[in-house]
């Protein structure tokens, strides 16, 4: 029986549970002996001219080894990331340390090198900056007016515009509803903050980095330092969470190479949580306007999404994200007329980057709120509106108005499964009873059906290397770079499935550019479908090579060999056999295979979520009671791992709907720059989740797998959001912006009572 599809416990866990793993700050590598601590001095203002930075007091503190400002750094600035309509203006390049102008609270303006961490804190406080304040631009609407420019040389705050609008879109619709929706800014907040260490060994630099993609970081570092590949090595050891925000090397980490060289000593940087919350890229941050139109019977005929993306102070991935939103604009629905437009603008806030789902949750949040707005306006049940407009199974492969081709899907089946498991009818009856009684605790039922694009950067593919060592154990090298997903376990299962070798004898290695020079990394739920498929194919190749070799050595026809009990045996003559160790020892060039696997196009996992909440109409407090889901990611290799990914995703999605928001005051001051103020969701606010299983395989890879890492987030956010609005919809409430805090819910109730 195949090991695939079974509940195999993680191979990663014993080490993490006994010594706590080895994150960058845990490294005790001799190359880092005597490492100096790196502490950044950050801007206290959102927008200002730097008129002077006085470092003299810091220099006088014993234990301070170096103090640097932009004038000391001879590295080129980081060019802007790709935008939604070509590259953003080149003038928006980002220096390592603010040069001339600061553009957000938390932007690094200076850096100190000290003998200890505590001295770094002391020294950073002694660096004083003189600033001439400029008007801050915090709101995306203000930014669009271009009255105050962040980069005067660019002549505009707009980093890109894509899409067009057609005035006739809603002609012929009996009902048209429109609404502005804030998809608020949230923090990725991995438990391990950004951490890096760096050492030069003669002419070569090694950067240890808490990151999701060592190889792309290596490439960025090479470009920034002007060094060839053989002189740059990036290692990503255990990584304490990423959620998309640890993609790419950021300025603060890249500068370590410069600092280590100047100091002629290794250096280490561990940011504080407060720094993490103001300086690591944030996610989401879209202002959306949805317009939906159709017939009174609940048939949707036209849908429009207008997006203003807050890019933050410098165009990083935030300048690109709305393109993913536009790709997925119509979600799971077959709507005759669909259009979208996106504009992206810089503001005096922390730069925006990828965060779990990256542009796709924003698309689903918009269309799923729109479906509920349409349901409320037509008086048709929200489940019925969805049922009526879903893409049907016979329409696959389905070409979307966003320009995508959905591979496979069973959208109605997923929705029906969730409705039945939750007993939707009974929930509606209970809701009606509470409404009739005028109960203080009203029930809210929220639905969301979603489809997401996974491995959107599929054309880059991923490579897998499988090698039998002379002792019969297996080395697997992969470019995907886990940070909690359990790659060691799932990839070892794929190899064991082909080679019949015990999981304990299979080692999975990742995150070292010297061992694995050319790969992509972990993002966009691409790992199993690309990295896993590559490892699978490599294992198949090794198996075939082994079969040939065994046949030669035994001098028998290949067809007479079988792989049984972990060795190659002659069929019917089990005493004539060769073990994997014997084969590896006797293979002249070793027994290994390298496969680079690419899909023709991305895959599209899908699902439906149903959330149940209770709202206290006297206080606005939301009590989150139940969450029932189907998340169909094709074939499941290890149910334990996929369930874990779904749980985590649901929690993060619900957190955005209920609690989390990074906010700024009118001057651009962050309002929640630590975990005491940022409403990180805890065990106490969440229920246990009810997961249903469905597997609709994709045809795009040999395993039939899609991606699962972001699914929970995409479905949960609108399901929980819709549930909160639904709880008070009988009072006339049609929309409450996220997060649906007690204050916001209470205010919405007051307006209608």
């Amino acid at each position: 029986m195949s090991i695939l599809g079974t509940r195999v416990e993680r191979r990663e866990d014993p080490r993490l549970l006994t010594v706590g793993g080895t994150y960058v700050d845990d490294l005790r590598d001799p190359a880092l002996d005597g490492a100096l601590h790196v502490t950044y001095v950050r801007s206290p203002l959102a927008h200002a001219k730097i008129t002077g930075i006085d470092t003299s007091a810091a220099w006088e503190l014993p234990g301070v080894v170096g103090v640097f400002t932009a004038a000391d750094v001879d590295l080129p600035p980081f060019p802007p990331n790709a935008g939604i309509s070509g590259p953003p203006p080149a003038a928006m390049a980002r220096p390592h340390l603010a040069s001339g102008t600061v553009r957000y609270v938390g932007e690094p303006v200076a850096v100190v090198l000290t003998e200890t961490w505590a001295l770094g804190e002391d020294a950073a406080e002694l660096v004083s900056g003189d600033y001439e304040p400029l008007d801050p631009v915090v709101d995306v609407g203000d930014a669009l007016r271009d009255e105050v420019l962040l980069f005067p040389e660019a002549g505009t705050n707009v980093t890109g515009t894509s899409g067009e609008l057609d005035d006739s879109l809603f002609e012929g619709c009996e009902v048209v509803v429109t609404r502005q929706i804030e998809n608020q800014r949230v923090a990725a907040a991995p438990l391990e903050v950004r951490t890096a260490a760096c050492a030069w060994d003669g002419h070569k630099v090694t950067l240890w980095l808490s990151n999701q993609n060592a190889q792309s970081c290596r490439d960025e570092l090479m470009a920034n330092l002007g060094l060839p590949q053989e002189q740059v090595r990036v290692i990503t050891p255990d990584v304490g969470g990423g959620f998309g925000a640890k993609i790419g090397v950021e300025q603060e980490a890249a500068l370590l190479a410069f600092l280590a060289k100047r100091a002629d000593r290794p250096v280490k940087w561990v940011e504080s949580r407060s720094e993490n919350l103001v300086a690591m890229t944030h996610g989401r941050a879209q202002r959306q306007v949805v317009t939906i139109g159709g017939r009174r019977d609940g048939t949707v005929l036209a849908y429009r999404l207008e997006i203003i993306q807050d890019v933050g102070a410098y165009p990083r991935m935030g300048a690109f994200l709305p393109l993913l939103t536009r790709f997925m604009v119509s979600g799971v629905y077959d709507i005759p007329k669909v259009e979208s437009i996106a504009r992206a603008v810089v503001t005096n806030t922390t730069p925006i980057g990828a965060y779990r789902g990256a542009g796709r949750p924003e698309a689903t949040a918009a269309v799923e709120r729109a479906m509920d707005l349409f349901a409320a306006e037509t008086g048709v049940d929200p489940a019925e509106v969805r049922r009526r407009n879903l893409v049907r199974p016979e329409q696959f492969p389905y070409s979307t108005p966003g320009g995508m081709t959905y591979d496979t899907g069973e959208y109605l089946k997923g929705l029906v499964a969730v409705l039945e498991a939750a007993d939707y009818r009974a929930l509606r009856e209970e809701q009606a009873e509470r409404r009739a009684e005028g109960a203080t605790h009203q029930l809210g039922i929220g639905l969301a059906s979603y489809v997401e694009i996974t491995a959107p950067n599929n054309t880059e593919g991923e490579t897998g290397h499988v090698e039998i060592r002379p002792d019969g154990s297996v080395l697997v090298l992969t470019g995907s770079s886990p940070h909690g997903q359990g790659h060691w376990t799932s990839y070892a299962m794929l190899v064991s499935d082909q080679l019949g070798i015990d999981l304990d004898k299979i080692e999975v290695v990742h995150g070292d550019t010297d061992l694995i020079p050319k790969r992509v990394g972990t993002m966009g739920s691409r790992s199993l479908q690309l990295g896993g498929s590559a490892v699978h194919r490599a294992a198949v190749d090794v198996k075939e090579k082994a079969r040939k070799l065994a046949a030669e050595l035994i001098e028998i026809d290949e067809a007479d060999l079988e792989l049984t009990d972990g060795s190659w045996q002659v069929r019917g003559t089990p005493n004539v056999s060769l073990s994997w160790a014997e084969l590896a020892q006797r293979a002249e060039d070793g027994l290994a295979a390298d496969v680079h696997f690419t899909e023709d196009r991305p895959t599209f996992p899908f699902g439906s979520h149903l959330a149940v909440v209770e709202v206290d109409t006297e206080t606005g407090k939301v009590n989150y009671l139940r969450h029932v889901t189907v998340d169909d990611a094709g074939v499941i290799i290890n149910p334990i791992l996929t369930e874990g990914q779904r749980h985590g995703g649901i929690a993060q999605g619900a957190a955005q709907a209920l609690l989390e928001e990074v906010s700024y005051d009118a001057d651009g001051n962050p309002q929640n720059a630590n975990l005491a103020d940022y409403a990180f969701i805890t065990a106490a606010e969440l229920p246990s989740f009810e997961l249903l299983t469905m597997e609709t395989p994709t045809t795009l890879n040999p395993l039939g797998v899609k991606g699962i890492g972001e699914a929970g987030t995409i479905g949960a956010t609108p399901a929980v959001h819709n549930a909160v609005v639904d709880a008070v919809s009988h009072l006339g409430v049609r929309h409450i912006d996220m997060p649906t805090t007690p204050e916001r819910v209470w205010k919405a109730i007051q307006v209608h009572s």
Partner: protein, 157 residues
């Protein structure tokens, strides 16, 4: 100043700065890096250890305050090769993903079950409110704690 602390059954003495936090002492002076730091405000619980058997956030305790006391960290929980029942439950129930919050989460859970092995789900959720996890959605952590609690209460009967 000089501190003398029994860490995981081993008596250790070090000269430390007065302001040294217990978590820094454990990580930097004892080389026990299993205990992690996740915030600056005693909010995340990643640094939770047992001080004389009770869970504390070691970023809120000075090394000096632990002088003469016993500290247990994640490294001291297993009995040789044998995982502690809480560690085993976390693996069985997939109660960890990236693993960064895990040492603190496990130590807090050990203390929780030690106080009351007849925990309800709601009590586990309330009891772990001071320990943040970004990966698991807490679902499997709660399952793991309930499983370990059941095992303990069963063993006590």
């Amino acid at each position: 100043m000089q501190v003398s602390i029994n860490v995981n059954g081993e008596q250790r003495s070090h000269e430390v700065e007065d302001r040294t936090l217990l978590v820094q002492y454990l990580r930097d002076d004892c080389g026990l890096t299993g205990t992690n730091i996740g915030c600056d405000t005693t909010s995340c619980g990643a640094c939770t250890v047992l001080l004389d058997g009770e869970s504390v956030k070691s970023c809120t305790v000075l090394a000096a305050q632990a002088d003469g006391h016993e500290v247990t960290t994640i490294e001291g929980l297993a009995d040789g090769e044998e995982l502690h029942p809480m560690q085993r439950a976390f693996q069985q129930k997939h109660g960890l993903q990236c693993g960064f919050c895990t040492p603190g989460m496990v130590m807090a859970s050990v203390s929780l079950v030690e106080e009351n092995p007849n925990l309800t789900e709601a009590e586990v959720r309330a009891g772990l409110e001071g320990n943040l996890c970004r990966c698991t959605g807490y679902h499997n952590i709660v399952e793991a704690v309930l499983t370990a609690a059941k095992e303990k209460s069963g063993a006590a009967e």
